[in-house]
Structure formats: structure tokens, C-alpha cells
Amino acid sequence: MTMLYVYGVVDSPSLGDSPLTGHDAASVFAVPCGDCAAAASNLSRRTVVPGPGSVWLHEQVLEALMRRHAVLPLRFGTLVPDADMLRNRLAAMLPALGDDLRRLRGRVEFALRVTGVDAGCLRAGDAAETNDAARTLSPGTRYLRAQAERRRHRIAFEDAARGTERALRRHLDPAAESAAWGLATAQSTTLVASYLVPREDASAFAAAVADVRAHHPALEISCTGPWAPYSFVTVRPPEA
């Protein structure tokens, strides 16, 4: 069964003249809907295995489209049985898609990872288990005390993380249009951030990151991009 793999939505009914190649070396074509179009290619299978190569190909198609259009990236792996179903779904989302396309036109995303945030907090928590005095307690009491101490240190870490975020944002936010910060996972010690930056300001943003790194040598700060603006899409699918 042939499916349509959908890469993104562009602010034009056509994709332009330059040929684009997608998964399985299939041509990428437009599925128009109103003033927009979905960029899609035929796929003669029902799944695309997510991996660095296939995800990177998805991104490459989006970046090629972004050279000529405003583009909303679709989540990797979006498969649709046929063009009519895709058009119907796009039609139901068209006003919101249009709003996002206008807002994100000419914008790219940068990704930040920050580690080394007051790591002493967590090491102190681990030390609680090996404390000699604690060994004299019953196993249950020792367990509960260790849990409480871990919790206290986790709270201290999260306070330190918020402080680090505030310090970095003072430097970085003025160089960007929008930002979203958080922990990589609930119990992670890595701060992650997404920054929305006008494409023409990408070099200035990279310079701001380099400046922040110089001012915070104790932190490990990575920055990659520019990516399609995945993190700043706000359109949601209609309720089924």
C-alpha cells in the first residue's frame, strides 16, 4: 500500500521548481490546500523507522523548503493514506496553520543544552547513603531519611537550575525572539532550551552564546542549529 509521507506545510500552493528528494529517493511534491500546501512524497510502506539518517533527511527536506517558503515542520513519521485525507485534515486546521506560518516566517530554531549546574547538590544527596552514622539506623528509617535528603537536594538543585536559567536568559533572550526552557527530563540535571531567532540574526545569536560560555566557564553549554522551528509550532489538531 502506498502512503504519503508528509514533511511540512508551506505558505504556497506549490513548492517551486527545484526538485526535492525524500524518503526512499521519492520526489517531494505539493498537496495544495487553500493558500498552503503540504510537502509530501510517496512511500511504499507503512512505517518509517526513526533513526539519525531518516530524521536528518526529514530535516533536510524542510530546510530546502525554508529557503523559499515559510514552513511549519510536521512531526517526524507523519503518514497519510491518500491526498484527499491529507487535504481534508489541512482544511480543518487552515486558519491556525496560516497564523503559525505568518509568525514563523523567516525564523529558525537553536537548541541549547546546559550541564554542570551546581552538581554538588546531587553529589551530597548520594553521599547520604554512605554516611557512617546513618548505618546505625534501621533499614526503613535509613531509607526514608535518604529519600528525604535526596528530595531536599533535588529542590536545591532545581533552585540552582532556575538561577542558572535566569542568568543565561539575561544574555540570550535579547538576541532572540522567543525562548522555551526546561529540564531535559523530570529528574535530569541537564537544562535544555529552544530559541526562536530570525534567520538574519543567527550569527548574532551564535555570538551571544559564545559570550555566555565565556562568562560561565563552569557550565557546559552546547548550541546547535539552525533547525526548522519545531518547538514554536502552536497549531493543534482538531478534536476527533
Partner: protein, 74 residues
């Protein structure tokens, strides 16, 4: 051009996976059915995405010679 500041190149792949697998436009909602042991999630019969566990596994097993980004240090 890809900007990469001061970290190994796998960071770029991890950052891209974080975004492409869990963000971006979703056409058919986010109700998911986990296929235990496979690590993939179908959304209806139309959308296939990777679970968080799959993403972590992919990061762990990603080889240094896998397809790379067009990147240059800044």
C-alpha cells in the same frame, strides 16, 4: 550552515531527534498505542512516531559514522 558550539557532533543529532520526534505539527492528535518491545507508537493508523525510550536508545547506539550534519564549528 549548522552552528555547533563546543560539543561533539552527536549533540546535534540528539537535538534534532528531540525536536523532530516530539515536536512540530501533529495532524491526528497524540493518542498513542505503545507496541511493547518494538518501541514505536502508532497514532491511529496514520502517524508513526518514536517513543521517548526509542529516542534514548537511538542516541545510545548512534554510531559516529552515521549520516552527519552539514556542520561547522562557530
Amino acid at each position: 550552515m549548522k552552528v555547533r558550539i563546543g560539543h561533539e557532533r552527536n549533540t546535534a543529532i540528539a537535538d534534532l531527534l528531540d525536536r523532530a520526534l516530539s515536536k512540530g505539527v501533529v495532524l491526528w492528535g497524540e493518542a498513542t498505542i505503545s507496541l511493547a518491545g518494538v518501541g514505536l507508537i502508532y497514532v491511529g493508523l496514520k502517524v508513526l512516531v518514536a517513543s521517548v525510550e526509542t529516542m534514548h536508545t537511538m542516541r545510545a547506539v548512534h554510531r559516529a559514522d552515521a549520516p552527519l550534519l552539514d556542520e561547522r564549528g562557530a
